[in-house]
Subunit: 107 residues, 2 copies
């Protein structure tokens, strides 16, 4: 389940994670839930957005590069990164980007 | 159908378009195809990635801010923006971000 992230006024950072999953679950769903729980309390985490069809796109939003670096080195996240390469993903791409502007439309 | 965008070495720009669609099609599919065709030949366009579940996420990649501005003012795109507000979207958010780094993993 994913909705819009309520990000603050720019500038802030986005991590765009594009992935193609392997067909087997191999503990992915369980780990995703655990990761989400600790992510919520991570320093500098601003929110995330997610959707998957042929490819999965997860965009997480962060206060600054330092917060992204700390999250990269979080022990459970490091374990998930290892399992991701070994079991869950055929391919992925990570882009780190500085959000400069945002616009919103609500009907 | 969407796969990974083969973007060049950073820096370049990402436009993150997060949306919630209305239930009716109202010409959306037809316009999407037309827009994609002209988008491919747009100056400075580098590729795009798309997935939709509860929300839709389209990330398009661009050479620079000037290319994004030109695309924003393209006549067919302007028409689509208007129809988007009137017919297709309940809500959307656009974030313009400068990609500083990228990493790729391929099994």
């Amino acid at each position: 389940m994913s909705q819009f992230a309520n990000t603050p006024e720019p500038p802030y950072y986005a991590v765009i994670f594009t992935s193609i999953k392997s067909h087997e679950d191999n503990g992915y769903e369980k780990m995703s839930k655990e990761i989400l729980e600790i992510l919520k309390n991570q320093e500098g985490f601003l929110g995330f957005e997610f959707a998957r069809e042929e490819i999965g796109i997860t965009v997480s939003y962060w206060k600054d590069l330092d917060s992204i670096k700390k999250w990269k080195n979080n022990p459970l996240h490091k374990q998930a990164q290892k399992l991701g390469k070994n079991l869950w993903y055929e391919r992925y791409k990570i882009r780190i980007a500085k959000v400069e502007k945002e616009y919103e439309f609500i009907k």
